[in-house]
């Protein structure tokens, strides 16, 4: 259930939880923590989470947001779930490459491609 203060759009289609960000800039440490906690609740509510995080509207991402994504990835893995990222702006994609986080995240160009990549739960 999303609260009225949620910074996320959440949809659940075919047992895949799809998350989009409302904000174009994911920089604020307080907001990042709230977003991470909201996604953590989504993960914990699913015994085998299949989570797609779509960055369609995002222009800027801080290192704190990258840290939150790593924590989310660890939580998904702990529940033997699957995490995919999609629609990342080329400049932000470069940030993932510089930090070598492309090695731990499965990143897809489009949400459709990411959805096709999920293994059956």
């Amino acid at each position: 259930m999303q609260s009225k203060d949620s910074r996320l759009r959440v949809r659940r289609i075919d047992n895949i939880t799809q998350v989009e960000f409302i904000d174009r800039n994911i920089l604020d440490e307080g907001n990042i923590q709230a977003i991470a906690e909201e996604i953590a609740r989504l993960i914990e509510s699913d015994p085998s989470p299949r989570l797609l995080i779509c960055f369609q509207n995002v222009d800027h991402l801080s290192s704190a947001a990258l840290g939150a994504l790593i924590t989310i990835n660890n939580k998904v893995r702990d529940r033997r779930g699957q995490l995919r990222l999609s629609n990342i702006d080329p400049q932000i994609q470069e940030v993932f490459a510089i930090t070598r986080l492309t090695k731990i995240f499965q990143i897809h160009e489009t949400a459709e491609e990411a959805i096709r990549s999920f293994k059956p739960a």
Binding site: L27, D28, E29, G30, H60, S62, S63, A64, L66, G67, A68, I70, T71, N73, N74, Q91, V95, I98, T99, R100, L101, K103, I104
Partner: protein, 148 residues
């Protein structure tokens, strides 16, 4: 000089406290200066990201044990060829060499420690003051030495 001419350098000194509005305003003020000098989208991204990370380090790490209203000092100058940023905090300082390399395999899943390496990646020069509580950054405009 007529009113239509671009000044050679635009500079300012700002106090920034642990307040999202102040942080955003400072970042947008610098970004607006880049726009006035005709810097492109990639330069804007590089400077905004480095400024965000530098301010976050100063405010959330340097001032971790200080009252939220304690300001950090941002000084910047923007010219047709380069951007200079200097961020000073009132904290105890830190040793930038002590931050583990986040790109090593064994550190990839650590959730923190990427701000400094991003600044180093996107800025042309980065140096720290002797007390470890000031960072100076320079961004040279790609294919610079040209007018905007």
């Amino acid at each position: 000089m007529t009113h239509d001419q671009q000044p050679m350098t635009e500079s300012a000194s700002l106090s920034v406290a642990n307040d999202r509005v102040q942080i955003d305003r400072a970042i947008e003020q610098v970004a607006a200066a880049l726009d006035r000098f005709g810097y492109d989208k990639a330069s804007r991204f590089a400077v905004k990201l480095s400024l965000q990370e530098g301010l976050a380090n100063a405010i959330f790490h340097g001032h971790k044990d200080l009252p939220p209203a304690t300001p950090v000092r941002l000084e910047y100058s923007v010219s047709p060829s380069e951007v200079r940023l200097s961020i000073s905090d009132q904290g105890p300082g830190f040793d930038p060499g002590s931050v583990p390399d986040p790109t090593l395999d064994e550190n990839l899943e650590r959730p923190c420690g990427r701000g400094i390496m991003l600044i180093r990646s996107y800025m042309t020069e980065v140096s720290y003051g002797p007390g470890g509580n000031r960072v100076d950054m320079r961004y040279a405009r790609p294919s610079a030495a040209t007018s905007p």
